[in-house]
């Protein structure tokens, strides 16, 4: 069962990911991304990372992809309209794809690490949550603080970049 689920999710993720890359329509691409994320979340579950799977769906699917879709709609771009690829460009893309593929194969072939004996899966979702909480607020407290500032900065940045000009305040 686990094997099957793994294969299923893996194949699903890959296909959807490829869909992101090849889909001409940005909306479709976003939807593919969403599906790929769902696939990854499934893999997370297979790896006993329930909370992370949940977070992934929450943050990515719920927030990020929604944001993407929202923006796509907002900007109303009409896909990648182009008069056709130039040969050079096409060749370059094929070459790049071949290169990446070759790299991937070489990685597959050589990246075999010793397979560790798999430890027992965590008993319950709650225990995992508690562990994360302890870690985040003791060992990794500093990064959490930094992330806090990062989010604040990002928020400010979005405001600065997006908000309408307030002539009275910002005039030179």
């Amino acid at each position: 069962m686990a094997q099957f689920l793994f294969n299923l999710f893996a194949a699903f993720t890959l296909v959807c990911a490829l869909g992101v890359v090849v889909n001409k329509n940005a909306v479709n691409a976003a939807m593919c991304l969403l599906l790929a994320l769902v696939g990854v979340a499934g893999l997370f579950v297979a790896l006993n990372a329930y909370l992370l799977a949940f977070l992934l769906l929450l943050v990515y699917a719920g927030a990020v992809v929604a944001l993407f879709l929202f923006i796509i709609m907002l900007l109303d771009t009409k896909g990648e309209q182009r008069p056709g690829l130039k040969h050079a460009s096409l060749v370059a893309r094929l070459f790049a794809a071949a290169l990446v593929g070759a790299g991937l194969l070489s990685f597959f072939a050589r990246s075999r690490l010793p397979e560790p004996a798999l430890g027992p899966a965590s008993a319950a979702v709650g225990a995992e949550l508690k562990l994360y909480a302890y870690q985040l607020f003791t060992t990794y407290l500093l990064p959490v603080q930094v992330i806090g500032f990062l989010l604040l900065a990002a928020m400010l940045g979005v405001i600065v970049i997006s908000k309408k000009l307030d002539a009275a305040e910002d005039a030179p």
Binding site: L131, F149, L150, G157, S162, A171
Partner: protein, 504 residues
């Protein structure tokens, strides 16, 4: 995880060791508070508060330079405080100070919020200070991303300018890509080093020391090798090493000039601080991989930076490409450090300081010469500067001279130290390349000076008018004078700084 361990871990979070960073964070928050609290008329003074705050932080850092936490780890091994970390703190604080001063000049020319700019600069600075001291990949990644995302915003800060936004987007895409590479590299390293079937595996595999121990025990692990090169690629993006330097001219050109300066100096220095630690200590047992990679990068970077700058007319792109070549020279130092040359680390730090001083002098002049379109700064705009404003011309001459590495300016000493270190490390061919690079670089630095000194200011009737030059204010004037004199003095007399940096 029992309670004792949790308590122990919590107790290790010694915030006192982070005094400068906390100061900056508090000032950054205070700025926002002031913006809310103070009436609008007073807002113009808020950025000055940032300057004062940074200056005081710097002072405090100097007073507490030999801090008690030196040579110890805090925050459960996330940070490692050492001498180099202190040096880099000073470096970033200085950069922040100067960026704020330049921003006063530059932002005054357009309608953009100013408080947020200072806030971001402070946050980024604090993050860079932590970055330079981190000894754990989680810390590294988080602070690095904070810096990077902060820079995304800063680069596109002139949101009314298409160039600025385009630069921001380019920086963002390339930055995110490189972050992805870096992250994947970390993942692979983590995976390899944590593998229980391998010798010296570690439960805390993202910690530098444990990782180094693992690498030493597994000198030819493929996954680890790939992880290392991907991490190097990520860092190479930050420092602008070939072939991850390609974004630099575009982004530098589009970014607001103070941000360009910040990017060129502080961000690059942060990358080098990280790279030094990684290449010299963490990846030491993978020298077979790291040294060839860095050597090749250094050579290619020096060559590309100098050659590409040769025919450049936009000074922002020019200084960007010259910065690429400087990254190459610094990489030379890193190669030497990784090869075990005794004085290499100090040489890199000295070089960075010389580069800081000289670059900000040049950027200061650029800021004053920039017109309404910040990305349009052409060499022709410098015509007649020597006659118009001898002060700026002199500062420019000193700055460029130092960048070019001409005695008696600080940049020369930096190059000298790096070269000596590289020679000690036996990097002969790289040195030859570096020498050729210096010779080539003279051409464009000289061309710039030629524009400022030799060419008359006859305005061409058909061409676009030269942008209005900003008169030099007190703060900027003071800063530029100090920078110019510093460049000269540091060339003649290194004094305690020389001993401090080069000889520990």
């Amino acid at each position: 995880m029992n309670l004792e361990a949790v308590k122990l871990a919590a107790a290790n979070n010694s915030w006192g060791a982070l005094f400068p960073e906390l100061m900056l964070a508090c000032i950054a928050l205070a700025l926002l508070v002031f913006e809310v609290v103070l009436p609008r008329k007073q807002h113009r003074y808020i950025p000055d508060l940032a300057i004062i705050g940074v200056a005081f932080t710097l002072l405090g850092l100097f007073l507490n330079f030999d801090s008690a936490s030196l040579d110890s780890e805090t925050f459960n091994g996330l940070l490692h405080h050492d001498h180099a970390g202190q040096v880099m703190r000073v470096f970033f604080l200085l950069s922040a100070l100067l960026v704020c001063v330049l921003a006063r000049v530059s932002l005054a020319k357009r309608a953009v919020p100013r408080v947020e700019f200072s806030h971001l600069v402070l946050v980024i600075t604090a993050a860079m200070m932590l970055l330079a001291q981190s000894s754990h990949f989680v810390m590294l990644f988080v602070t690095l991303e904070t810096v990077t995302i902060g820079f995304y915003i800063l680069v596109s800060y002139f949101r009314t300018s298409a160039a600025s936004l385009e630069a921001g987007l380019k920086y963002l895409v390339m930055g995110a890509l490189s972050s992805g590479l870096l992250l994947f590299g970390i993942v692979l390293l983590y995976g390899a080093a944590g593998n229980p079937a391998l010798p010296m595996h570690s439960a805390n595999a993202m910690h530098y020391r444990d990782l180094a121990a693992f690498l030493a025990a597994n000198p030819h692990n493929f996954v680890a090798s790939v992880g290392i090169v991907l991490v190097l690629a990520g860092v190479a993006f930050k420092i602008g090493a070939f072939p991850f330097q390609i974004w630099i001219p575009d982004v530098y050109q589009g970014a607001p000039t103070p941000v360009t300066a910040f990017l060129a100096v502080a961000s690059k220095a942060a990358g080098f601080a990280v790279l030094l630690v990684l290449a010299r200590d963490v990846f030491a047992s993978y020298a077979w991989l790291v040294i060839p990679v860095l050597t090749l990068m250094a050579g290619a970077t020096i060559l590309f930076g100098n050659i590409a700058a040769l025919t450049q007319h936009n000074v922002k792109r020019l200084i960007g490409l010259s910065g690429v070549s400087h990254a190459g020279f610094l990489l030379l130092g890193v190669v030497a450090a990784a090869s075990g040359a005794a004085m290499a680390t100090g040489a890199v730090y000295f070089y960075l300081f010389a580069y800081l001083i000289a670059s900000f002098a040049v950027f200061g002049v650029m800021t004053h010469l920039a017109g309404a379109d910040d990305s349009d700064q052409e060499l022709e705009h410098y015509a007649g500067l020597a006659k118009d404003n001898p002060f700026l011309a002199a500062v420019l001459a000193v700055g460029l001279g130092s960048l070019a590495g001409i005695p008696p300016l600080a940049g020369f000493m930096g190059k000298l130290f790096v070269f000596i270190a590289a020679f000690q490390a036996g990097a002969r061919w790289l040195l030859a390349l570096a020498a050729a690079g210096v010779a080539i670089s003279i051409y464009y630095y000289f061309g710039w000076l030629k524009a400022a000194f030799f060419e008359s200011l006859a305005p061409s009737p058909d061409g676009p008018a030269r942008p209005e030059r900003t008169p030099v204010g007190f703060a900027a004037g003071l800063a530029l004078s100090v920078l110019a004199l510093g460049s000269i003095l540091l060339g003649f007399y290194q004094g305690p700084l020389g001993q401090w940096l080069t000889l520990k």
